[in-house]
Protein backbone atom coordinates (compact mmCIF):
# COMPACT_ATOMS: atom_id res chain seq x y z
CA UNK A 1 0.00 0.00 0.00
CA UNK A 2 1.05 3.55 -0.71
CA UNK A 3 -0.17 6.63 1.11
CA UNK A 4 -1.43 9.33 -1.24
CA UNK A 5 -2.26 12.89 -0.33
CA UNK A 6 -4.05 15.45 -2.44
CA UNK A 7 -6.50 18.32 -2.16
CA UNK A 8 -10.04 17.41 -3.15
CA UNK A 9 -12.65 20.15 -3.37
CA UNK A 10 -10.44 22.41 -1.28
CA UNK A 11 -9.91 19.87 1.48
CA UNK A 12 -6.63 18.07 2.18
CA UNK A 13 -7.19 14.32 2.03
CA UNK A 14 -5.01 11.26 2.18
CA UNK A 15 -5.47 7.52 2.12
CA UNK A 16 -3.74 4.20 1.68
CA UNK A 17 -4.16 2.68 -1.76
CA UNK A 18 -2.71 -0.09 -3.85
CA UNK A 19 -0.57 1.31 -6.67
CA UNK A 20 -3.07 -0.06 -9.19
CA UNK A 21 -5.95 1.90 -7.66
CA UNK A 22 -7.54 4.23 -10.17
CA UNK A 23 -8.15 7.82 -9.16
CA UNK A 24 -11.89 7.30 -9.62
CA UNK A 25 -11.88 4.44 -7.11
CA UNK A 26 -9.95 6.51 -4.60
CA UNK A 27 -12.52 9.30 -5.00
CA UNK A 28 -15.54 7.01 -4.77
CA UNK A 29 -14.40 4.33 -2.31
CA UNK A 30 -11.86 6.03 -0.05
CA UNK A 31 -13.44 9.47 -0.01
CA UNK A 32 -17.07 8.39 -0.48
CA UNK A 33 -17.60 11.02 -3.18
CA UNK A 34 -19.88 8.96 -5.39
CA UNK A 35 -20.93 11.81 -7.68
CA UNK A 36 -18.05 10.86 -9.97
CA UNK A 37 -19.40 7.93 -11.97
CA UNK A 38 -17.91 4.93 -13.72
CA UNK A 39 -19.85 4.33 -16.89
CA UNK A 40 -17.83 2.14 -19.21
CA UNK A 41 -14.61 0.91 -17.60
CA UNK A 42 -12.96 1.18 -21.02
CA UNK A 43 -11.93 4.85 -20.82
CA UNK A 44 -14.45 6.02 -23.41
CA UNK A 45 -17.58 7.43 -21.79
CA UNK A 46 -16.36 10.39 -19.72
CA UNK A 47 -18.76 9.87 -16.80
CA UNK A 48 -15.73 9.94 -14.49
CA UNK A 49 -14.33 13.30 -15.60
CA UNK A 50 -12.85 15.41 -12.79
CA UNK A 51 -10.44 18.34 -12.81
CA UNK A 52 -6.84 17.63 -11.87
CA UNK A 53 -4.91 20.87 -11.46
CA UNK A 54 -7.59 22.58 -13.54
CA UNK A 55 -7.58 20.08 -16.41
CA UNK A 56 -10.47 17.77 -17.24
CA UNK A 57 -9.27 14.18 -17.16
CA UNK A 58 -10.85 10.75 -16.99
CA UNK A 59 -10.43 9.64 -13.39
CA UNK A 60 -10.72 6.03 -14.56
CA UNK A 61 -7.56 6.45 -16.64
CA UNK A 62 -5.22 7.88 -14.07
CA UNK A 63 -3.68 6.08 -11.12
CA UNK A 64 -4.44 7.55 -7.71
CA UNK A 65 -0.72 7.53 -6.89
CA UNK A 66 -0.07 9.67 -9.96
CA UNK A 67 -2.37 12.35 -8.51
CA UNK A 68 -0.16 12.78 -5.44
CA UNK A 69 -0.03 16.45 -4.48
CA UNK A 70 -2.70 17.46 -7.03
CA UNK A 71 -5.64 19.82 -6.67
CA UNK A 72 -8.77 17.94 -7.60
CA UNK A 73 -12.29 19.18 -8.16
CA UNK A 74 -15.20 16.76 -8.42
CA UNK A 75 -18.87 17.45 -9.10
CA UNK A 76 -19.39 17.80 -5.34
CA UNK A 77 -16.99 20.74 -5.32
CA UNK A 78 -18.84 22.97 -7.79
CA UNK A 79 -21.76 24.30 -5.74
CA UNK A 80 -20.82 27.12 -3.39
CA UNK A 81 -22.71 28.01 -0.20
CA UNK A 82 -25.72 25.97 -1.21
CA UNK A 83 -25.94 27.67 -4.62
CA UNK A 84 -25.63 25.51 -7.69
CA UNK A 85 -22.77 26.33 -10.06
CA UNK A 86 -24.14 28.14 -13.16
CA UNK A 87 -23.46 24.99 -15.20
CA UNK A 88 -25.45 22.83 -12.78
CA UNK A 89 -28.27 25.35 -12.73
CA UNK A 90 -28.31 25.50 -16.53
CA UNK A 91 -28.57 21.71 -16.85
CA UNK A 92 -31.54 21.86 -14.46
CA UNK A 93 -33.23 24.75 -16.27
CA UNK A 94 -32.71 23.39 -19.78
CA UNK A 95 -33.59 19.77 -19.06
CA UNK A 96 -29.98 18.86 -19.84
CA UNK A 97 -30.32 15.41 -18.33
CA UNK A 98 -32.64 12.48 -18.32
CA UNK A 99 -31.27 9.55 -16.31
CA UNK A 100 -28.44 11.75 -15.07
CA UNK A 101 -25.71 9.13 -15.10
CA UNK A 102 -23.43 10.99 -17.52
CA UNK A 103 -24.23 14.40 -16.04
CA UNK A 104 -21.36 14.78 -13.55
CA UNK A 105 -18.86 14.07 -16.33
CA UNK A 106 -20.70 16.36 -18.75
CA UNK A 107 -20.69 19.19 -16.23
CA UNK A 108 -17.04 18.75 -15.25
CA UNK A 109 -16.03 18.63 -18.93
CA UNK A 110 -18.16 21.66 -19.76
CA UNK A 111 -16.97 23.85 -16.88
CA UNK A 112 -13.39 23.22 -18.00
CA UNK A 113 -13.86 23.99 -21.69
CA UNK A 114 -16.08 27.03 -21.15
CA UNK A 115 -13.29 28.43 -18.97
CA UNK A 116 -10.63 27.42 -21.50
CA UNK A 117 -12.44 29.16 -24.37
CA UNK A 118 -12.98 32.25 -22.24
CA UNK A 119 -9.26 32.50 -21.47
CA UNK A 120 -8.23 31.92 -25.10
CA UNK A 121 -10.80 34.39 -26.43
CA UNK A 122 -12.08 31.89 -29.02
CA UNK A 123 -15.83 31.93 -29.54
CA UNK A 124 -17.59 28.90 -28.07
CA UNK A 125 -20.32 28.29 -30.63
CA UNK A 126 -22.57 25.26 -30.92
CA UNK A 127 -20.14 23.40 -33.19
CA UNK A 128 -17.30 23.99 -30.73
CA UNK A 129 -19.45 22.72 -27.83
CA UNK A 130 -20.31 19.56 -29.76
CA UNK A 131 -16.65 18.99 -30.62
CA UNK A 132 -15.57 19.52 -27.02
CA UNK A 133 -18.13 16.94 -25.89
CA UNK A 134 -16.51 14.19 -27.97
CA UNK A 135 -15.21 12.55 -24.82
CA UNK A 136 -18.57 12.41 -23.05
CA UNK A 137 -21.23 9.92 -24.02
CA UNK A 138 -24.94 10.31 -23.19
CA UNK A 139 -27.35 7.50 -23.99
CA UNK A 140 -30.59 9.36 -23.21
CA UNK A 141 -30.80 12.93 -24.33
CA UNK A 142 -29.51 13.00 -27.88
CA UNK A 143 -27.28 15.86 -26.69
CA UNK A 144 -29.44 18.77 -27.86
CA UNK A 145 -30.42 19.94 -24.40
CA UNK A 146 -26.92 19.33 -23.09
CA UNK A 147 -25.60 21.70 -25.75
CA UNK A 148 -28.32 24.23 -24.89
CA UNK A 149 -27.49 23.97 -21.19
CA UNK A 150 -23.82 24.65 -21.85
CA UNK A 151 -24.62 27.59 -24.16
CA UNK A 152 -26.84 29.01 -21.42
CA UNK A 153 -24.25 28.51 -18.67
CA UNK A 154 -21.42 29.91 -20.79
CA UNK A 155 -23.30 33.19 -21.07
CA UNK A 156 -23.48 33.36 -17.26
CA UNK A 157 -19.99 32.16 -16.33
Amino acid sequence: MTTVSMTVNGKAVSGDVEDRTLLVDFIRVNLGLTGTHVGCDTSQCGACVVHVDGKAIKACTMLAVRAEGSEITTIEGLAKDGELHPMQAAFKENHGLQCGFCTPGMIMAATEFVERYKVSGIELDEAAIRKELEGNICRCTGYHNIVRSIEDAASKM
Binding site: T2, G46, V49, I57, T61, L63, R66, F113, E134
Partner: protein, 266 residues
Protein backbone atom coordinates in the same frame (compact mmCIF):
# COMPACT_ATOMS: atom_id res chain seq x y z
CA UNK B 1 -6.06 -4.52 -13.34
CA UNK B 2 -3.45 -6.86 -11.93
CA UNK B 3 -1.18 -5.62 -9.18
CA UNK B 4 1.65 -3.37 -10.19
CA UNK B 5 4.25 -1.19 -8.51
CA UNK B 6 4.35 2.51 -9.42
CA UNK B 7 7.59 4.49 -9.56
CA UNK B 8 7.83 8.18 -10.32
CA UNK B 9 11.01 9.09 -12.16
CA UNK B 10 12.51 12.55 -11.98
CA UNK B 11 15.00 12.04 -14.80
CA UNK B 12 15.33 9.79 -17.83
CA UNK B 13 18.43 8.16 -16.33
CA UNK B 14 16.56 7.37 -13.14
CA UNK B 15 13.69 5.95 -15.19
CA UNK B 16 16.04 3.65 -17.09
CA UNK B 17 17.56 2.45 -13.81
CA UNK B 18 14.12 1.82 -12.29
CA UNK B 19 13.06 -0.17 -15.34
CA UNK B 20 16.27 -2.21 -15.33
CA UNK B 21 15.60 -3.18 -11.71
CA UNK B 22 12.02 -4.26 -12.44
CA UNK B 23 11.04 -7.82 -13.25
CA UNK B 24 8.75 -6.91 -16.14
CA UNK B 25 8.39 -3.17 -16.09
CA UNK B 26 6.91 -0.67 -18.51
CA UNK B 27 7.30 3.04 -18.98
CA UNK B 28 4.15 5.04 -18.29
CA UNK B 29 3.61 8.42 -19.92
CA UNK B 30 0.08 9.78 -20.31
CA UNK B 31 -1.30 6.29 -19.79
CA UNK B 32 -4.23 6.76 -22.16
CA UNK B 33 -3.47 3.49 -23.95
CA UNK B 34 -1.49 1.59 -21.34
CA UNK B 35 -3.94 1.99 -18.46
CA UNK B 36 -7.03 0.92 -20.46
CA UNK B 37 -4.99 -2.07 -21.68
CA UNK B 38 -4.05 -2.93 -18.10
CA UNK B 39 -7.66 -2.50 -16.96
CA UNK B 40 -8.66 -5.13 -19.48
CA UNK B 41 -5.81 -7.34 -18.23
CA UNK B 42 -4.28 -7.39 -21.69
CA UNK B 43 -1.07 -6.06 -20.16
CA UNK B 44 0.23 -6.80 -16.69
CA UNK B 45 3.58 -5.10 -16.07
CA UNK B 46 5.03 -5.77 -12.61
CA UNK B 47 6.21 -2.16 -12.44
CA UNK B 48 5.26 1.15 -14.00
CA UNK B 49 7.92 3.81 -14.33
CA UNK B 50 6.20 7.18 -14.72
CA UNK B 51 7.98 9.50 -17.14
CA UNK B 52 5.28 12.17 -17.22
CA UNK B 53 6.75 14.32 -14.48
CA UNK B 54 10.29 14.56 -15.83
CA UNK B 55 10.69 18.30 -16.32
CA UNK B 56 13.55 17.98 -18.83
CA UNK B 57 11.21 16.11 -21.18
CA UNK B 58 8.43 18.73 -21.13
CA UNK B 59 7.65 21.63 -23.41
CA UNK B 60 8.01 23.03 -26.91
CA UNK B 61 11.11 24.86 -28.14
CA UNK B 62 11.02 26.94 -31.30
CA UNK B 63 14.36 28.04 -32.74
CA UNK B 64 13.64 29.68 -36.08
CA UNK B 65 12.35 26.81 -38.24
CA UNK B 66 13.60 24.13 -35.87
CA UNK B 67 10.91 22.68 -33.60
CA UNK B 68 11.65 20.47 -30.62
CA UNK B 69 8.84 18.92 -28.62
CA UNK B 70 9.62 17.19 -25.32
CA UNK B 71 8.38 13.61 -25.14
CA UNK B 72 5.97 14.14 -22.26
CA UNK B 73 4.37 17.23 -23.77
CA UNK B 74 0.64 16.56 -23.89
CA UNK B 75 -1.52 16.69 -27.01
CA UNK B 76 -3.46 19.57 -25.42
CA UNK B 77 -0.24 21.55 -24.97
CA UNK B 78 0.75 21.02 -28.61
CA UNK B 79 -2.78 21.81 -29.84
CA UNK B 80 -3.01 25.04 -27.84
CA UNK B 81 0.50 26.43 -28.34
CA UNK B 82 0.00 29.71 -30.18
CA UNK B 83 3.76 30.06 -30.75
CA UNK B 84 3.88 26.68 -32.47
CA UNK B 85 0.68 27.42 -34.39
CA UNK B 86 2.30 30.57 -35.78
CA UNK B 87 5.11 28.57 -37.41
CA UNK B 88 3.50 25.16 -38.06
CA UNK B 89 -0.25 25.02 -37.56
CA UNK B 90 -0.68 21.51 -39.00
CA UNK B 91 1.00 19.79 -36.05
CA UNK B 92 -1.30 21.74 -33.68
CA UNK B 93 -4.33 20.79 -35.76
CA UNK B 94 -3.28 17.14 -35.68
CA UNK B 95 -2.79 17.17 -31.90
CA UNK B 96 -6.25 18.70 -31.52
CA UNK B 97 -7.79 15.77 -33.44
CA UNK B 98 -6.41 13.05 -31.15
CA UNK B 99 -8.98 11.24 -28.99
CA UNK B 100 -11.05 13.70 -26.98
CA UNK B 101 -10.24 16.67 -24.73
CA UNK B 102 -9.67 14.51 -21.65
CA UNK B 103 -7.34 12.17 -23.50
CA UNK B 104 -5.47 15.17 -24.91
CA UNK B 105 -4.95 16.54 -21.39
CA UNK B 106 -3.05 13.37 -20.44
CA UNK B 107 -1.71 11.72 -23.60
CA UNK B 108 1.80 12.63 -24.74
CA UNK B 109 3.64 12.77 -28.05
CA UNK B 110 6.36 10.43 -26.80
CA UNK B 111 3.81 7.89 -25.61
CA UNK B 112 1.96 8.04 -28.90
CA UNK B 113 4.96 7.37 -31.09
CA UNK B 114 6.54 4.82 -28.71
CA UNK B 115 3.31 2.81 -28.82
CA UNK B 116 3.16 3.08 -32.62
CA UNK B 117 -0.51 2.21 -32.84
CA UNK B 118 -1.22 1.76 -36.56
CA UNK B 119 -4.12 4.21 -36.22
CA UNK B 120 -2.35 6.86 -34.14
CA UNK B 121 -2.01 10.35 -35.66
CA UNK B 122 1.50 11.47 -34.74
CA UNK B 123 3.42 8.74 -36.64
CA UNK B 124 2.10 10.13 -39.97
CA UNK B 125 3.42 13.58 -39.06
CA UNK B 126 6.77 12.22 -37.88
CA UNK B 127 7.25 10.40 -41.21
CA UNK B 128 6.12 13.29 -43.34
CA UNK B 129 8.13 15.90 -41.44
CA UNK B 130 11.24 13.71 -41.53
CA UNK B 131 11.40 14.08 -37.76
CA UNK B 132 14.24 12.95 -35.59
CA UNK B 133 13.31 10.89 -32.55
CA UNK B 134 15.73 11.71 -29.76
CA UNK B 135 16.22 9.02 -27.13
CA UNK B 136 18.40 8.36 -24.11
CA UNK B 137 20.78 6.48 -26.41
CA UNK B 138 20.72 8.05 -29.87
CA UNK B 139 18.81 9.98 -32.50
CA UNK B 140 16.64 7.91 -34.82
CA UNK B 141 15.19 9.11 -38.14
CA UNK B 142 11.42 8.60 -38.35
CA UNK B 143 11.94 6.40 -41.44
CA UNK B 144 13.92 3.97 -39.28
CA UNK B 145 11.90 4.37 -36.09
CA UNK B 146 8.52 2.88 -37.01
CA UNK B 147 9.11 -0.82 -37.66
CA UNK B 148 5.73 -2.58 -37.70
CA UNK B 149 2.36 -2.56 -35.91
CA UNK B 150 3.06 -1.50 -32.31
CA UNK B 151 6.78 -2.06 -32.97
CA UNK B 152 9.52 0.55 -33.05
CA UNK B 153 13.32 0.64 -33.16
CA UNK B 154 13.38 1.41 -29.43
CA UNK B 155 15.25 -0.97 -27.18
CA UNK B 156 13.50 -2.09 -23.98
CA UNK B 157 15.28 0.40 -21.73
CA UNK B 158 15.49 3.23 -24.27
CA UNK B 159 13.37 6.31 -23.64
CA UNK B 160 12.21 8.92 -26.12
CA UNK B 161 13.23 12.29 -24.69
CA UNK B 162 12.03 14.58 -27.51
CA UNK B 163 11.20 14.81 -31.18
CA UNK B 164 12.57 17.43 -33.50
CA UNK B 165 11.91 18.62 -37.05
CA UNK B 166 12.42 21.52 -39.41
CA UNK B 167 9.26 23.31 -40.48
CA UNK B 168 8.66 22.61 -44.18
CA UNK B 169 7.55 25.32 -46.61
CA UNK B 170 4.04 23.79 -46.71
CA UNK B 171 2.32 21.06 -44.74
CA UNK B 172 -1.16 19.78 -43.93
CA UNK B 173 -2.99 16.91 -42.25
CA UNK B 174 -6.36 15.37 -43.04
CA UNK B 175 -7.99 12.57 -41.13
CA UNK B 176 -11.05 10.37 -41.35
CA UNK B 177 -11.68 9.58 -37.70
CA UNK B 178 -13.33 6.37 -36.59
CA UNK B 179 -16.73 7.65 -35.43
CA UNK B 180 -16.47 6.09 -31.97
CA UNK B 181 -12.80 5.93 -31.04
CA UNK B 182 -11.54 8.98 -32.98
CA UNK B 183 -8.51 6.97 -34.03
CA UNK B 184 -7.60 7.49 -37.67
CA UNK B 185 -9.39 5.12 -40.05
CA UNK B 186 -6.90 6.86 -42.31
CA UNK B 187 -4.86 10.00 -41.79
CA UNK B 188 -2.47 11.61 -44.26
CA UNK B 189 0.18 14.21 -43.46
CA UNK B 190 1.80 15.96 -46.43
CA UNK B 191 4.91 18.17 -46.39
CA UNK B 192 6.65 20.13 -49.10
CA UNK B 193 10.20 21.07 -48.24
CA UNK B 194 12.17 24.16 -49.21
CA UNK B 195 14.16 22.11 -51.76
CA UNK B 196 10.92 21.03 -53.48
CA UNK B 197 10.92 17.45 -52.18
CA UNK B 198 7.67 16.09 -50.80
CA UNK B 199 7.00 13.54 -48.07
CA UNK B 200 3.63 11.89 -47.56
CA UNK B 201 3.01 9.99 -44.30
CA UNK B 202 -0.04 7.73 -44.04
CA UNK B 203 -1.46 6.33 -40.81
CA UNK B 204 -4.47 4.14 -40.00
CA UNK B 205 -4.41 2.43 -43.38
CA UNK B 206 -1.24 0.37 -43.90
CA UNK B 207 -1.22 -3.32 -42.98
CA UNK B 208 2.28 -2.81 -41.55
CA UNK B 209 1.51 0.50 -39.89
CA UNK B 210 2.52 4.00 -40.88
CA UNK B 211 4.09 4.32 -44.34
CA UNK B 212 5.20 6.83 -46.97
CA UNK B 213 3.65 6.85 -50.42
CA UNK B 214 6.34 7.49 -53.00
CA UNK B 215 3.97 7.75 -55.96
CA UNK B 216 2.12 10.60 -54.30
CA UNK B 217 5.38 12.20 -53.23
CA UNK B 218 6.65 12.45 -56.80
CA UNK B 219 3.25 13.57 -58.13
CA UNK B 220 3.07 16.35 -55.54
CA UNK B 221 6.69 17.34 -56.11
CA UNK B 222 5.60 18.07 -59.69
CA UNK B 223 2.46 20.02 -58.81
CA UNK B 224 1.31 20.78 -55.26
CA UNK B 225 -2.43 20.35 -55.87
CA UNK B 226 -4.97 17.70 -54.94
CA UNK B 227 -5.57 17.23 -58.65
CA UNK B 228 -1.99 16.05 -59.13
CA UNK B 229 -2.90 12.87 -57.22
CA UNK B 230 -5.59 11.69 -59.64
CA UNK B 231 -3.41 9.12 -61.42
CA UNK B 232 -1.76 7.80 -58.25
CA UNK B 233 -2.63 4.28 -57.17
CA UNK B 234 -2.79 2.88 -53.65
CA UNK B 235 -2.47 -0.90 -53.33
CA UNK B 236 -5.60 -2.16 -51.55
CA UNK B 237 -3.81 -5.42 -50.69
CA UNK B 238 -1.27 -3.52 -48.61
CA UNK B 239 -4.02 -1.88 -46.53
CA UNK B 240 -5.55 -2.94 -43.23
CA UNK B 241 -8.88 -4.64 -43.70
CA UNK B 242 -11.29 -5.03 -40.81
CA UNK B 243 -14.90 -4.70 -39.68
CA UNK B 244 -14.67 -0.91 -40.02
CA UNK B 245 -13.30 -0.67 -43.55
CA UNK B 246 -11.86 -3.08 -46.08
CA UNK B 247 -8.59 -2.57 -47.95
CA UNK B 248 -10.18 -0.99 -51.01
CA UNK B 249 -12.09 1.52 -48.87
CA UNK B 250 -8.95 2.51 -47.01
CA UNK B 251 -6.93 2.72 -50.25
CA UNK B 252 -9.51 5.19 -51.53
CA UNK B 253 -9.38 7.13 -48.26
CA UNK B 254 -5.61 7.49 -48.57
CA UNK B 255 -6.02 9.25 -51.91
CA UNK B 256 -8.97 11.38 -50.86
CA UNK B 257 -7.35 12.49 -47.62
CA UNK B 258 -3.99 13.19 -49.26
CA UNK B 259 -5.87 15.56 -51.55
CA UNK B 260 -7.63 17.23 -48.63
CA UNK B 261 -4.34 17.55 -46.76
CA UNK B 262 -2.78 19.30 -49.75
CA UNK B 263 -5.82 21.54 -50.18
CA UNK B 264 -5.69 22.58 -46.51
CA UNK B 265 -1.91 23.01 -46.40
CA UNK B 266 -0.18 26.29 -45.94
Amino acid sequence: MYETKYHKASSADEAARLLAAAEDGKFLSGGQTLLPTMKQRLAAPTDLVDLSQIDAMKGITIDGKKITIGAVTTHAEVASSSELRDVCHSICDLAGMIGDPHVRNMGTIGGSIANNDPAADYPAAMMSLNAEIMTTKRTIAADDFFVDLFETALEDDEIITAISYTVPSKCGYAKFPHPASRYAMTGVFVSKNVDGTVRVGVTGAGASGVFRHEGMESALAGTWTADALKDCTVDANAMLSDIHADGAYRANLVKVLAGRAVASSC
